[in-house]
Structures are given as structure tokens and as C-alpha cells.
């Protein structure tokens, strides 16, 4: 199996404006995404999902420091503090920005959007980019008529699909989508998610979707990782994580999603997410965890859950863990 993304011990921090401290958004993360996977990164606001996704897409801002190694299709993209995304960014990895309303320029037609992107990444001329655009629009269920339109003439859902089509047109092998559904109606969410799932199955694009809504991951993703304060605390096949969540944080994330027709009380997460300035080896959930024990001052290892292969959890109080 080819690995599309392999991160080993990767840390990403933002240098504070006054250059006094570093906010660590991602901390010593190991992760592997296989080619053709649909992978979800889930977590509350501020947990570092966007930062990690941006690192894979190669669009980290300049005031960032990195540690560890990141491989994309076995090419070293981040090597400790140096990065090299040439030839990867836009070509191998393509990025769908979060907000369709603000990521399309109001002054360009959809065709020009395609042209600008494809010219910069693949050196296409107008003709070629038009052809590629029509093909990609077809895949997302839009016809060539929208090429002549300006973004404001399209609905939010159509804009979102245009962005997906632009990502597709560059023939990228990995598509990174940051919160593809949070800016659009609940009513449109399903169709956008299904579209992404279809692209993944039919064209074997590797998907990395970032979201805060744990429940909506099951429609597209076959694997997911739950992120908390820059660390991955639970990862595995979507079904096994959703059916059998092990980490207290995952359970609580599930508890706060409203399910239509199911009258359960909503249990919000206690406390506010933290900003990590000092990367200490403790359990990142300790202060907010209802099940915390003394041992939790140490950082738990990522351990497999029971006999479920590839389901890992980072928590001391696992069945089979030392303290239970």
C-alpha cells in the first residue's frame, strides 16, 4: 500500500507577534494516510486541525516553526525546520478553502478562476484550462454554463462545488478540504459531503477533510483521527470509532452533536480549549477530563483498542490499560 501522507513526530508552532513565545498548534504527531483513503480530522476549535491540514497542503504562513518530518508520496516535504513544497503544492496536493464566499474573487469569472490556478500549477493555456474546467465541472455535477458566471451569480452550494472542481482540475492526488460544510446550509451539507465521497471512490483521490462535526464524518470518511490540543488522541476506522468511542474526549464530542429525531440531552464539553505554549508531556485532556486519575499527569501512549485492528487511543484509562 502506498502512503499518501506520512507524518513522523511533526510539530508546528506559530511564533507570537512579539517573538516572545511559540504557540504549538500541532505537537509530535505521527500519522499515515494511505492512498485512496478518505481521512477525517476532527476536533474542537483551536485544536490544530487547520494547521495540520495547511502543512500538508503546503500553505503554512511564514511565521511558523516546524519540527519532525512530513512525507507526501514518499517525498520529504518538511524536514525539521526546512520545507520544500515545490512540485507538490497545487499539483499533488490541492486545497479547498473553508469559505466559498471569500475564496473566490468577485472580479473573475469561473473560467478565469480555473485559468489562473491551472496556469500557475500546470502551465496550461486558456484552451487547455477550459477543457479541464469543463471536465472537472462535470464531475461535480455542474454544466459548462457556469464558466461565464461571476461567483456572486452562483448559490453557496454551487460556489463550494466550483472550488471542489478547481481542486479536481489540477489532477491532484490528494485533496485537502478545510471545513467544507461549515459555511453552507445544513440542507446543502449532505450533497457536498456526498460529492466528496463520490470523488474519492470513483477517481481514487485521497481526501483529507477537516471538520468539527464528528457525526457528519461517517458519510464520507472511512478513517478518522480526533485531534485535541495539537495531538491525535484517537484514530481508527470511522465506524469503529463512532460505534465504540474510547477516549473521553471523543465520547464528549459525540454527545454534543444534535441527532434529528433523537431526543438526547446535549452534553457540551466542559471548559475552553487551551493554547499550548509549553509542550509538556501530559495528557492534553487532563484539566477537563471527568475520568482523570493521578497517572494522567504523564502522557499516555497511543495504544491499540482491544482486538480492533488500527483503532488506537491515547488514554490511560483504557480497558486493558494499566490502571483499570
Amino acid at each position: 500500500m502506498v502512503l499518501a501522507v506520512r507524518a513522523s513526530g511533526i510539530s508546528i508552532g506559530y511564533i507570537d507577534e512579539e517573538e516572545e513565545y511559540i504557540v504549538w498548534a500541532v505537537r509530535r504527531v505521527d500519522l499515515a494516510i494511505e492512498e485512496g483513503d478518505a481521512f477525517c480530522l476532527v476536533g474542537e476549535s483551536g485544536s490544530g486541525k487547520t494547521t495540520f491540514a495547511n502543512a500538508i497542503a503546503g500553505i503554512l504562513p511564514p511565521h511558523v516553526v516546524t519540527r519532525g518530518k512530513l512525507y507526501i508520496f514518499d517525498r520529504l516535504a518538511i524536514d525539521e525546520s526546512t520545507w520544500n513544497f515545490n512540485g507538490l503544492r497545487g499539483r499533488v496536493v490541492s486545497y479547498i478553502p473553508q469559505n466559498p464566499g471569500t475564496s473566490l474573487s468577485p472580479f473573475l469569472t469561473i473560467e478565469e478562476h480555473f485559468y489562473h490556478v491551472l496556469r500557475d500549477t500546470l502551465r496550461y493555456d486558456r484552451e487547455k484550462s477550459r477543457k479541464a474546467a469543463i471536465e472537472a465541472l462535470l464531475k461535480v455535477g455542474l454544466d459548462r454554463g457556469v464558466l461565464e458566471d461571476y461567483p456572486h451569480e452562483l448559490s453557496g452550494g454551487m460556489q463550494q462545488r466550483v472550488l471542489i472542481a478547481i481542486a479536481l482540475a489540477s489532477n491532484a492526488k490528494i485533496i485537502v478540504a478545510d471545513e467544507p460544510t461549515s459555511a453552507i446550509d445544513a440542507n446543502l451539507r449532505a450533497s457536498v459531503l456526498q460529492l466528496l465521497g463520490k470523488l474519492n471512490r470513483e477517481y481514487r483521490v485521497t481526501l483529507l477533510i477537516v471538520t468539527h462535526d464528528l457525526a457528519s464524518t461517517s458519510i464520507v470518511c472511512n478513517r478518522l483521527a480526533v485531534m485535541l490540543a495539537g495531538k491525535i488522541v484517537e484514530t481508527g476506522r470511522t465506524i469503529s470509532v463512532l460505534r465504540n468511542p474510547q477516549h473521553p474526549y471523543t465520547k464528549m464530542l459525540l454527545d454534543c452533536v444534535p441527532l434529528l429525531g433523537v431526543k438526547k440531552p446535549l452534553k457540551p464539553l466542559p471548559g475552553e480549549p487551551i493554547q499550548v505554549v509549553e509542550d509538556k508531556a501530559i495528557c492534553p485532556f487532563r484539566e477537563r477530563c471527568p475520568r482523570a486519575i493521578d497517572k494522567c499527569v504523564e502522557e499516555p501512549p497511543l495504544k491499540p483498542v482491544g482486538d480492533e485492528e488500527s483503532h488506537y487511543v491515547k488514554c490511560w484509562r483504557l480497558t486493558g490499560g494499566e490502571s483499570e
Binding site: 476549535s45 448559490s155 445544513a186 458519510i219 452533536v257 434529528l260 464539553l269
Partner: protein, 276 residues
Amino acid sequence: MSSILELQKVTAGYKSVKGFKSLIKRVEIVLREISFTVEKGERVAIIGESGSGKTTILRVILGLLKPISGKVLIYGKDLYSLPSDQRLQILRRIGYVPQDPYKSLNPVLKIKYIVGEPLEAAGVEWRYIGERIREVLKIVGLPQSILNDTAEELSGGMRQRVLIARAIIAEPEILVLDEPTSALDVSIQAQIINLLNSIYNTFKVTMITVTHDLGVAQYLADRLIILKSGKIVEEGSVDEVLRDPKSEYTKSLITSYLRITGINSLNNIKIRGQYV
């Protein structure tokens, strides 16, 4: 009459300023003959997709947009034919939480002045306001330490709490919420939903919520009003609408919502238990 709010065949729209500005005054109709009533103490949600006119309904209710035809009755009085001081008197009994918490707070003002503003405008002296501010902050679960901060330092969830505190400080009888959770992530969304329901239970307000999220609506309302392109297509209690939707549009809303969570058919909905 016990109905606290009544819309009678309200048609409303915006003046379009395209083309020759002042020569041709075109009006773009957004709401068409909207009629509904809200009883005292009820929780109503208005559901619709983006652009369907949800916010416009609230603007009409809040006296910000005069309907082209039709009437808005609050406490039985026609809002738009009242003299402006009486209208203000009525509007002061409505607490309003606007759509986007990131654009609804003055970025340079201290939180205490934001929260205390409705009382200040009503002529209460600041030394009494201070006490009341501390009370409402406690109700919405904000630390007193933020009183002297500005909004820029707050997270989305905290901003929404500040807006809710501002809305309830003058003890309104009607609470109007425009998309109270859609800018927030799910765990914060759950906090805000629980907070709003506890406010509803403690203060017995009438609550009108606008949202595009059916899942949120079932927590914040007893009755749903479904809106499509400015028209009401369905109205009924939450259980009724979810179990037995009458219009095609409502059905499609429900199926697409369910699909997200991996449930495929309407039959799978079980209405069970009670919300706590």
C-alpha cells in the same frame, strides 16, 4: 388576546439600488404574505435555507423594515402605525441576538458597556447597571473578569454569550435569536443551546429562533415554521413535522439532514424520550 406576536399577510422586500439609483425605484420582494402567530411563552423556530428570508422576517418584527403590505401586531398593537416613542417602548420588551457574533460586537468597546447599553438607553444610572451586569454575566456563564476586556479578545462562544447577556439584561418578554449557533463549532453549539433553554425555563420568555439547522431547531423550539423562498410551506409542532412532514420541501430537508449522520430513511426516526 394571548398571542404576543402576530404577522398578518406580511409582504416585504428591499429597495433595489441597481441601475439608475433614484429614477426607478424597484422593490425586490423577499417575503410573500407571511402570516403566523406566536403565543406567550412559546418556543418557535423559523427554518429555511440561506436567502429564504429568515433574517428579513426578524427585521420586520423588530421594526427595522416596514412591510409593503400586511400588519405586525405585538401585544395586539400594530407596530408600524404606532408613534415612535410607543414603538420603542414595545421594542424594549424584545431581546435580539443577531446573526453573526463576529460582526455584532463593537470591537473597541469594553464588554460592560456593551452589555449595559440597553439599560443605559432606558435611562438607568450606571451604578445600578453595574450590579445587573454582574448578574446577567453569571446567568450566561461568563467570568466577571471580562468586564473590562474588549470583544476582540473573546472566542466565538464567549461573544455569543455576551450577546445573549445583552439581550436579556432588560428582562425582555420576547427573545429573538438569529442563527444563534451556526457560527460556532459543535461543542460550543451545545453549550449555547443548553444556555438558551435554561434561560427559557428560568425566565419564561417567548423564544423565536431562526436557523437553517433542523437538528438545532428541535432543541430550541416546540413549533416549527418552514420557509421556502419567502413563503411558509409548513407549520406544526416539532414532533408532527419530523414524523409526518406534509410538504415535499420539508421531506427533502429531513432526508438530507439525516443523510449526513448516516441514517438513510425517514422510517428510522424515532421520537423518544424528553429533552432535559
